[in-house]
């Protein structure tokens, strides 16, 4: 930031600019948009997990009044899309608007009924009959990995990608170990469950041969580029707009078949075409995540220092490799982040991502880091127990120390710098760890099953062009654009390639631009969620927006400020460094000469004759800048949870939850807190309640919100969050990315707390969610084992 610009808005709890419309019901979510002559789609979806489609009988359905047409894959000539990867041995899968000859998961779309209303479309859909030739259902990833039955016939196996990581000498490390702990960990499938179901409205303008797609997406830029390819249209004729979006969490960060479908149909029919998912469709087809089995072993010396870690990671990635992230996304991140924020030189991991007849896997908050943290934090606690070490002390001894940064982990990831140890100490202080331990002792003396769990983790955020979630995937996420411009009225417009869907970017990015320019917050309008807003964009995912868009906002804001000062200096006949801008007023220090931004704007755009000719070629108040942090930065936290388990019913109550985190400089502390809170509750959900269940035939049993349970306010404790709030060194602005931490740390902390509460029975929690049913079985088994 400029030396003479003192941040006023950055760092303050500014109320959000988004709120007035959202609070009064005047937001614009995709399904709210009503265009004349819109046609509606109901999809007929597969009820087989794996089958060939022999026949689709649409005769009865086609005669219903109000039905405009019924479509299957044969009706479209668009080429399938593949998510590419440079990873060795990776096998991509063809993504089409509707199932082409074969279905590979329950819920896959087979036929689309287009009608005047959704009601009529569903009436017709219920009259369509499909003949299937069932194929063997490959539901268990281990069986699928070894099977000759292929989901995708062009593949040589159902293993979509595999990789080995190795660093140091794991064999020697294990040979020298005083203590070795291991377990087979199972993290069950989740679905992001945004409250707004996916919704797409395609509007093809026949006259201009141009498409606008309103999409409930996190990645309008990605969708635009992909659709331009699939539709064989130039980019300037395809626009994707993500208006208000009701949550995403990664589930709206990929290209969906339905997006292709509505686009194709609108072009074919010349009318706007809308599809809004219902909740059942969401539970069946929105990408799912966290479905990992991890066999891991940790070697530790007699002083509790980590010597070596080895793991076999099996990722169940469902039926397709999603676009653009590829099926490698989550399993690779499990392996990449498994060594955690610790000093650990010797590491070995084998990762396999296997296709199964289930919903395709995709990004969900935390991606592979929640599973990685769960595994390592459990292993550390298991080792601590054997050594008689307090779990906090064990972490204290092993976390990367401040003087060890930058630190290269066993997987090759580099932690540039972050407050690992500071977060641990702050969390302990915040929760009053000795008092919590005393509370636990007293509870145990009274026969209560009370446990405390700690989890520390680190992640990479704000990643730049040199990092990739999956090498060779179709997009590079490493740069962000900001175009800041001031118009003739003195109003500021700042356009970005990000797509806010709850994070408050309309406010936080405005805070940065306003501070850079010296204008009030509400004179800045942030444009986002629109592929036409900037030349190239991707969207909001992977905790990137604060770092990348924030950095670009600083650069662009500074550049426009310089232009303003140049014009104003000329107008005031002084030097630029004699000028300040505050509250949209430019003033010369030491005099009473002032200009308003509006006066400068008017002069530049309508009175350009005032300026010498040689100034005018560059005379505007606009700048576009890009920011690429190249690598990215490290974000970290320690989570501490206290739980109590009813010894008769095995219901787990989270009594206390505290997070101490380092997310660098905070732009808006209220918004940061909100992100942490939301992540924690999703983490509690992942630890205790949420599980997508498929039966042995691949039938999705989690078919409603009565089946797939997420925490309500009554299941959630008061959440406490502490921040280090020190600027990151490596990013422009000093921000770190954040938002995913809650799901990364919470399941691990809760798993440790439950294990602690059950320590008198020697039970290790190695499977999440730790439902009352599972705890009942573990306890019953443990008690039987004793007698």
């Amino acid at each position: 930031m400029q030396d003479d610009v003192r941040p006023k808005l950055i760092g303050s709890r500014v109320q959000r600019l988004e709120d007035p419309r959202l609070l009064t019901g005047s937001g614009g979510f995709v399904d709210d948009i009503q265009l004349a002559h819109t046609l509606h789609i109901a999809l007929v979806r597969s009820d087989h997990a794996h089958a060939r489609i022999l026949n689709v009988d649409v005769d009865a359905a086609g005669t219903l009044p109000g039905v405009v047409g019924i479509y299957t894959a044969d009706d479209f000539s668009a080429k399938p899309l593949h998510a590419t990867s440079r990873m060795k041995g990776y096998q991509s899968t063809a993504i089409t608007a509707l199932a082409d000859g074969k279905v590979r998961f329950v819920g896959e779309g087979i036929a689309a009924v287009v009608a005047e209303s959704r009601y009529v479309a569903e009436d017709a859909a219920s009259l369509i009959t499909i003949d299937y030739e069932p194929l063997p259902d490959l539901v268990d990833p281990r069986i699928a990995a070894a099977s000759d039955v292929l989901l995708h016939e062009s593949h040589d196996s159902n293993i979509l990608v595999s990789r080995k990581f190795a660093r140091g000498d794991v064999t020697e490390a294990f040979a020298n170990a005083s203590v070795r702990v291991k377990d087979s960990f199972r993290f069950h499938r989740k679905t992001p469950l945004a409250i707004e179901n996916r919704s797409y409205l395609a509007d093809f303008n026949k006259g201009k041969q141009a498409l606008t797609l309103y999409s409930s997406t996190q990645v309008p830029g990605v969708i635009r580029d992909a659709l331009a390819k699939v539709l064989a249209m130039p980019g300037h004729s395809v626009r994707v707009v993500a208006p208000d979006v009701g949550g995403g969490f990664g589930g709206k960060a990929s290209l969906y078949p339905e997006e292709i479908l509505v686009a194709l149909l609108s072009r074919t029919l010349g009318h706007p075409v809308k599809w809004t998912s219902d909740r059942l469709e969401d539970l069946l087809t929105t990408s799912q995540a966290f479905d990992e089995t991890i066999d891991a072993e940790l070697a530790v010396d007699k002083d509790g220092r980590l010597l070596g870690l080895k793991a076999e990671i099996l990722g169940d990635v469902g039926a397709y490799s999603i676009y653009p992230w590829t099926a490698a996304l989550e399993p690779m991140q499990v392996a990449g982040f498994l060594p955690g924020p610790y000093q650990l030189a010797n590491y070995q991991a084998e990762v396999v991502a296997v296709a199964t007849n289930k919903t395709p896997a995709g990004p969900y908050r935390g991606v592979g880091r929640p599973a990685a943290a769960f595994v390592l934090e459990r292993l550390i606690d298991m080792a601590a127990l054997l050594l008689g070490l307090d779990p906090v002390e064990m972490r204290r001894r092993n976390l990367v120390q401040p003087d060890q940064f930058p630190y290269r982990t066993g997987s090759g990831i580099v932690w540039d710098q972050s407050g690992f140890t500071e977060c641990l100490e702050l969390a302990c202080k915040g929760v009053n760890y000795p008092a919590l331990q005393a509370e636990r002792s007293a509870a145990r003396r009274a026969g209560r099953w009370f446990g405390v769990g700690v989890a520390s983790y680190a992640e990479l955020t704000g990643i730049g062009s040199r990092m990739s979630a999956a090498p060779g995937m179709p997009i590079n996420t490493g740069t962000e654009t900001a175009t800041v411009e001031i118009d003739a009225s003195g109003a500021v417009r700042a356009a970005f390639g990000v797509a806010s869907h709850g994070q408050g970017l309309e406010t936080t990015l405005a805070q940065i631009v306003a501070d850079e320019l010296g204008v009030p917050l509400d004179s800045v309008q942030v444009i986002h969620g629109d592929s036409a807003a900037v030349t190239h964009s991707t969207g909001t995912y992977a905790s990137r927006s604060a770092v990348l868009a924030g950095g670009a906002a600083h650069l662009s804001g500074q550049a426009v400020r310089a232009k303003v000062l140049e014009a104003a200096a000329f107008m005031l006949n002084t030097d630029t460094d004699a000028l300040d801008i505050e509250d949209s007023i430019i003033s010369e220090r030491g005099t009473n000469k002032t200009l308003s931004l509006m006066e400068v704007g008017r002069a530049v755009y309508s009175e350009m004759g005032r300026f010498p000719l040689e100034m005018r070629a560059e005379l505007d108040l606009r700048a576009t800048k890009f920011y690429d942090p190249e690598f990215g930065t490290t974000t970290s936290a320690t989570h501490i949870a206290a739980v109590e388990i009813d010894p008769e019913t095995f219901i787990v109550t989270v009594k206390r939850f505290l997070v101490a985190e380092d997310c660098g400089r905070l732009i808006n502390p209220m918004i940061v807190d909100g992100q942490v809170h939301g992540g924690i509750v999703q983490g509690i959900g992942a630890a205790l309640y949420e599980e997508v269940v498929h039966d042995q035939n691949g039938q999705a049993l989690s078919a409603s919100l009565v089946d797939y349970l997420t925490p309500s306010a009554a299941e959630t404790p008061k959440l406490e969050v502490l921040h280090l709030d020190t600027a990151a060194l490596g990013t422009l602005g000093g921000y770190r990315g954040m938002g995913e931490g809650g799901t990364i740390g919470a399941p691990a902390a809760i798993a440790n707390a439950i294990t602690d509460a059950l320590s008198h029975l020697n039970i290790n929690i190695s499977e999440l969610p730790a439902t009352p049913e599972r705890i009942y079985r573990l306890v019953t088994q443990a008690i039987k084992g004793d007698t």
């Binding site: 219920s126 309640y689 049993l701 349970l709 925490p711 309500s712 009352p772 049913e773």
Partner: protein, 252 residues
């Protein structure tokens, strides 16, 4: 309504009976309380007459779903739906209620016990509607308890129990125990009721009750809980309901 929205129910004619007159009264008599089938859950929950005469109902109603559901869901609706894990059917059989039914062939009254035949299946014929339910007064000096276990607040119970005791001379003189979520219908457990008579509630009786209740129930397995776990819970909720009823009786 959810079933209609899922298109699991297909009807050509849907009859809205919520506006039929006279369905939404709660009346008292020396016999007990009669609740119209159209009375909404929240009205039952807040009725001062119910709170005075049958406080077990007022207390239990807080477990029924959530506020918005209680505002529109009705007593008659819940009873006619007959979910084996719902509170109203349990209360009906616990309190020996009478269901008043009306149809083209006339009116009849059915005892609650015997009305619930199978999950979501009751004794109501297709052309009949429930018009009201009478909850007889409880004997004087009755004490009660209710306990349910659910995954989350407002969810259907994994297991639940309601108990009514009459304690005289330090022992149980009369006992009622009804359970929900642990069989195909809500159930009274007469064998347990008989076992409790003449005894004081203590650690030994609790242990016995827990064991015996588990023998009596036939829970089902589903996504949320196995039959084994439900059976385990059945013992616990019964014991806790009885414990509350005993403690209440002692406090009087």
């Amino acid at each position: 309504m959810p079933m209609l929205n899922f298109r699991l129910l297909d009807s050509t004619l849907l009859i809205d009976i919520t506006r039929l007159p006279g369905f939404d009264h709660i009346t008292t008599s020396e016999r007990g309380i009669t609740v119209g089938a159209g009375v909404q859950h929240h009205a039952l929950k807040r009725s001062p007459d119910v709170a005075e005469r049958l406080p077990i109902i007022s207390h239990t109603m807080q477990y029924v779903a959530h506020m918005a559901i209680r505002n529109r869901g009705t007593i008659g609706g819940s009873l006619a739906h007959g979910d084996p894990a719902a509170e109203l059917p349990l209360l009906a059989i616990l309190l020996d209620a009478y269901l008043h039914i009306s149809g083209p062939t006339g009116e009849r009254s059915a005892r609650a016990e015997g009305f619930f035949l199978a999950p979501l299946t009751t004794n109501l014929n297709e052309d009949e509607i429930l018009t009201s339910i009478t909850f007889p007064n409880l004997p004087q000096h009755s004490s009660w308890g209710f306990e349910e276990i659910a995954r989350r607040s407002g969810d259907f119970a994994l297991a639940g129990a309601g108990a009514v005791l009459s304690i005289q001379h330090g022992v149980i003189a009369d006992a009622r125990l009804a359970m929900m979520g642990v069989d195909e219908t809500p159930r009274r457990l007469p064998a347990i009721e008989a076992m409790l008579l003449g005894r004081a509630w203590d650690v030994g009786l609790r242990r016995l009750a827990v064991r015996e209740v588990r023998e009596q129930v036939n829970p089902m397995s589903d996504l949320q809980a196995s039959a084994d776990y439900r059976r385990h819970l059945a013992g616990i909720v019964a014991a806790r309901a009885l414990n509350s009823a005993w403690a209440m009786g002692q406090a009087r």
